[in-house]
Symmetry: C2
Subunit: 317 residues, 2 copies
């Protein structure tokens, strides 16, 4: 099983130790034979101290360049907006044959920002684990975060690239399922499955905030009616999401246009008392939910299992 004397990577460097970085550490330790040593860097002293205290990393560095030295796998776990600067900083310090990856929610702009700074001989395999919670920081991570979730890799030379195969095996070891695609396709798919939902969630929470004078704290008090579900995803890290929208602008604006057109159609149906159209649209939406539960990307418990109730009819739809 776990061959701890010959790990897949001798030294893993995590550049940035937030939710994703700390979860990679937990999941790698759980496996046992993926990595020998784990080192990490953070510009924030409190984060370095906490990461050492939690045993997430064996050594902590203030700069990415120091952490990257002698590492055979470097994963950049910073917000998307600083990935280019990190690549520039670590480029001259990388070992030949090292694999460099990231976990950013956009891929086209990251390739453009990072690739020019990485020397020949270094293998760049961008990655994106589709997993997360609304929490952040080194304490937020846990070993199960990637279990059963997808990790998308966008290697420039495709799936047959040996470094891509090795990184895919690494992510499989962390519990994830791996899919290979182009950066451009990734950005389009994620625009609808992740970026637009987050934008909408941020927006409706802001709309409610403007109405505070009308409804006072009632918006919060009666949030169980549906609003609270939006607030959870709207509680995600503002820096990360700012960078996502700045770096996947075209795809997000495209999806937003479609969303707006569809919403106008629903608005018109409400205005015209057109119950048949509303019913049809709502019934269609229901079927998609079934697909997601069947695909194993969510649990079937009602209300996300918030009630704590045992669910005898779990999976029934």
């Amino acid at each position: 099983m776990a061959d701890t004397t010959h790990p897949m990577f001798k030294r893993l460097a995590l550049i940035g130790i937030g939710l994703i970085g700390s979860s990679i550490s937990h999941a790698a330790r759980r496996h046992g034979a993926l990595v020998g040593e784990i080192v990490g860097s953070s510009a924030t002293e409190a984060t370095r101290t906490k990461a050492l205290e939690l045993g997430l990393i064996d050594k902590a560095y203030a700069t990415a360049a120091e952490a990257a030295q002698n590492a055979d796998l470097i994963i950049v776990c910073t917000p998307v907006g600083v990935c280019g600067r990190v690549a520039q900083e670590i480029g001259p310090h990388l070992s030949p044959d090292a694999i460099v990856s990231d976990v950013g929610s956009v891929k086209t702009s990251i390739v453009a920002d990072m690739a020019p700074h990485l020397p020949a001989g270094v293998h760049f395999v961008p990655g994106h684990p589709i997993a997360g919670t609304e929490q952040s920081g080194p304490e937020a991570g846990f070993a199960e975060l990637f279990d059963g979730r997808w990790c998308i890799l966008t290697p420039p030379d495709g799936a047959e690239q040996p470094a891509a195969k090795k990184l895919a095996a690494f992510w499989t070891g962390l519990g994830a399922k791996v899919e290979i695609m182009t950066p451009e396709h990734h950005d389009l798919v994620l625009a609808i499955t992740s970026h637009l939902p987050h934008l909408i969630a941020f927006n409706i929470v802001n709309t409610a905030e403007h109405l505070k004078r009308v409804t006072d704290s009632e918006v919060i008090k009666f949030s169980a009616g549906g609003f609270r579900d939006f607030t959870r995803i709207a509680a995600s890290d503002p820096t990360m999401w700012r960078d996502v929208f700045l770096n996947n602008k075209e795809a997000v604006l495209h999806m937003l246009k479609r969303f707006g057109e569809d919403l106008s159609a629903l608005e018109a149906a409400i205005r015209a008392d057109d119950g048949a159209t509303l019913f049809k649209r709502f019934a269609e939406a229901r079927a998609i939910r079934r697909g997601i539960v069947e695909a194993g990307q969510d649990i079937a418990s009602p209300d996300f299992g918030r009630s704590g109730k045992a669910v005898p009819n779990s999976g029934k739809r």
Copy 2:
């Protein structure tokens, strides 16, 4: 404690036995002294059979009129759109001094639809428990559904009305917290806390569906990025939601207008690469989440506790 020989109501009639009706039964049985007998009506034979089989009701009737006879509390748990017809049907069969209530997600139109059909001497106290899951039917109910949730009552004569006080005590017995307001104020508050979020969720799921040819099943496969949270609320009962939008049209259209204006501002910020505005809006949204967790209307576990992970830092934000 529970005085089962002198229950608060001798005979409770549930008109409609779906998620809410069955949960009222479970919660009333759990308490022990709220009701003597529980009877129910459904036009669907399979629902009547299932409700008897699950012990939700002691007697099942095919018509609302039969169920309402001799009941001292009648709760109409049907979709909003049929409440008026139910009132018309049960009106002539109601006992003097009976309390009639409902659980509809809109209140102004229900008052207009039901009140004219209820005879003098009968006390009409409309109600709305702010609780639910995306599941429906008599098997979906459970005793804990209302625990710690709000139930809004909109009695025509205000909080001092004796029937309102009695019904408030009943809902408190079911586990809920009770708030009294006017039907108009209820509809405004719910438009933002519930109706608009559902409309948006239905809409984004539909938008994704249109894009299926581009992204194929990838929309479902990679839904863990945020999209799946929308599908859960979009999986709610289409009939119920059609009726909500047809019956709270003005308030929903008003909120939708505000939402559209705010979304246009975010879109403009993305288009103009205005990271400062995006960061500010996202950071504001985060604070609202804290308020909801502090108000006890959601759990602090990351990702709705889907990971099954113990949460050492629960409640930290």
